[in-house]
């Protein structure tokens, strides 16, 4: 088994992890590229105006070439440019959904895990109610009720995502709550809220971070699915799922319109997943070298 030394400076740690897990490193590098592309889209894109509502009917559906690396779509916009701008939308949705879900889920979970008893039962039954609905169905239902927009997508997905974090955190927090330093803090007379947020929370976060990384790919896929169904981002916004939807009828004749945004979704989800798996393996104490 590979040996990972997790002590030392953060930089050193990252270095050690990188050597130990090539796949996770590939994931991290891909993600870094995607994040940079998203941040620098207006400067990197060959035709920045195509990220929005520009139309060039004369250049519609040109195949990939030197001028348009990924070709152009029905209204003549550069597909490569739109993929760069689409990265912004996708990453923003992923960060917003996971941020909302994690803050709500982790807060409730850590309280449930530490308090136990009736408090835990009430919080866990509420999460069970949310988990009882199939996630995509609940998101769909919400998205249909609300106005189609990126905000709708974020809310609809976050509502189905937080209970998993509540559950995960509650189980971890419960085991942390049984540890000696929690008893010690109680004996010192440290108030319960301080114990929860100063001791239980920080010591429960590792599995949550792993889960966040694993989930980011899934969120992007779900968001793309909702946009594909017309419930999310609206034309002329650049969003990968929406681009796939608009290009699918052209698949047999002008394959590039749908293929490149599809690949972007695939690669991003894949990168988040392998990074998450790498973090899981690297941070798992049972797999740590002693």
């Amino acid at each position: 088994m590979t040996t990972v030394e997790l002590r030392g400076t953060p930089l050193r740690r990252v270095g050690n992890l990188a050597r130990a897990d090539v796949l996770a490193t590939v994931g991290a590098v891909i993600l870094a590229v995607i994040v940079l592309a998203a941040l620098l889209a207006p400067w990197l894109a060959p035709y920045p105006a195509d990220g929005g509502s520009a139309t060039h009917p004369a250049e519609a559906l040109l195949p990939p070439g030197a001028d348009h690396w990924f070709g152009t779509d029905q209204v003549g916009r550069d597909v490569f440019t739109r993929i760069l701008f689409g990265a912004r939308t996708s990453l923003f949705i992923a960060v917003a959904v996971l941020g909302l879900a994690a803050v709500a889920g982790v807060t409730l979970g850590v309280v449930a895990g530490y308090a136990g008893g009736v408090v835990r039962d009430v919080i866990m039954r509420i999460t069970d109610v949310f988990l009882a609905f199939p996630a995509l169905l609940l998101s769909l239902a919400l998205a249909v009720v609300l106005q189609p927009s990126v905000t709708t997508v974020i809310v609809a997905i976050a509502v189905t995502w937080w209970p998993w974090y509540a559950r995960l955190t509650a189980s971890v927090a419960q085991s942390v709550a049984g540890r000696g330093f929690i008893d010690a803090a109680r004996c010192l007379g440290v108030p319960a809220p301080k114990i929860v947020f100063r001791h239980v929370l920080p010591n429960s976060l590792t599995p949550v971070l792993v889960q966040l990384s694993l989930d980011a790919g899934g969120v992007i896929l779900t968001a793309s699915a909702l946009s594909y169904l017309g419930l999310g981002a609206q034309e002329p916004a650049a969003e990968w799922g929406l681009m796939v939807e608009q290009g699918q009828t052209l698949f047999t004749t002008d394959w590039w319109v749908v293929t490149f945004p599809g690949l972007a979704i695939l690669v991003t989800a894949f990168a988040f997943n392998v990074l998450g798996e790498g973090l899981r393996a690297g941070l798992d104490p049972h797999r740590r070298a002693r």
Partner: protein, 321 residues
């Protein structure tokens, strides 16, 4: 001394349907009280109750003149501060993510406000008091040795100016030479701070050193109580005798009667809890009466109390071949 004492009065403790401690009474004073017993005897559970971490099923935990569960918020806070734990494993007792200084600071600010300079000075003072270099305040628990961690735990406990320390196997996780130094430290701190100790251990040498009186716990019951030295030199309960003779000595083969070691405490204990002596299946002296009638804690002379039908015979050497 007029300082408040910590007492357990006929305390019964249970987890769900499993009763772990049956009607135990004891009182912690400045002479030091030992609680001796093997793993599973209920000693750690009793310690948790005395710390206010576990509510008794019946009986009372009393601090000073007030019962613990009935205390008001303020008094409860005072009780929490007044009785501090030192557990076996210092790496478990300190938050692994916090620097030592931050852990001690948390204790300092749990009950009082304190400005930064005063806090830093007090942390340095506390660390020095337990024999730690104040520079170690900047370290995290995993960067310290086992002995240093245990000293840090003691320093944190002292930060709230406690009156009683509950020491649960405080030296069991340490090397023998380090053990001796921690015991020296505990002895010195008791004199300097006037602390009461409740010491929980299976290590008889440690009890002998720190505790004037001792209680021997078997299957959640006190089977023998008395002055520590007297108790260990002249046991009146066959279990105490077995514990003492099980201590390995260099060059001397251990002399525990085979019948005593045959079965651990847990085996068959719940079924026999109500009828007969809990120790009878492991006791080489068990007779019909021991199977029929549970022995109660009774006076055996010289301040000794013992729960055994045949204590007099044990005292007169019936278990010695």
């Amino acid at each position: 001394m007029s300082r408040a004492t910590l007492r357990a009065e006929d305390v019964t403790l249970a987890y769900g349907h499993t009763t772990v401690v049956h009607g135990v009474s004891l009182s912690v004073d400045e002479g030091g009280v030992g609680l001796i017993g093997e793993s599973g005897s209920g000693k750690t559970t009793l310690a948790r109750a005395l710390l206010g971490l576990l509510k008794p099923r019946s009986g009372r935990i009393v601090y000073g003149s007030r019962e613990l569960p009935a205390m008001g918020r303020g008094e409860r806070a005072r009780f929490r501060g007044a009785v501090q734990p030192v557990f076996q494993d210092g790496s478990e007792a300190l938050d692994p993510r916090m620097r030592i200084g931050a852990s001690v600071a948390e204790a300092l600010t749990a009950h009082h406000r304190m400005d930064r300079a005063a806090r830093e000075a007090r942390i340095a003072e506390l660390l020095a008091d337990v024999g730690l270099d104040p520079a170690l305040a900047a370290r995290r628990p995993h960067q310290l040795s086992g002995g240093q961690r245990q000293r840090a735990v003691i320093a944190r406990a002292l930060a709230v100016r406690p009156e009683v320390l509950v020491l649960d196997e405080p030296t069991s996780a340490l090397d023998v030479t380090v053990q001796a130094r921690i015991l020296d430290l505990l002895q010195r701190l008791r004199e300097e701070h006037g602390l009461g100790y409740l010491l929980i251990t299976h290590n008889l040498a440690v009890v002998d050193r720190l505790c004037r009186t001792s209680h021997v716990l078997y299957a959640g019951r006190v089977v023998e109580t008395g002055a520590t030295r007297d108790l260990l030199t002249r046991p009146a309960h066959p279990y105490t005798l077995a514990l003492r003779d099980a201590v390995p000595r260099i060059g001397v083969p251990t002399a525990v009667p085979a019948a005593v070691t045959a079965r651990p405490a847990g085996t068959g204990a719940p079924a026999v809890a109500d009828r007969g002596c809990p120790f009878r299946h492991r006791c080489p002296l068990a007779v019909d009466r021991c199977h029929a009638e549970p022995p109660v804690l009774r006076d055996a002379g010289g301040g000794r109390r013992v729960a055994c039908h045949r204590a007099e015979e044990v005292l007169s050497g019936a278990l010695r071949q």
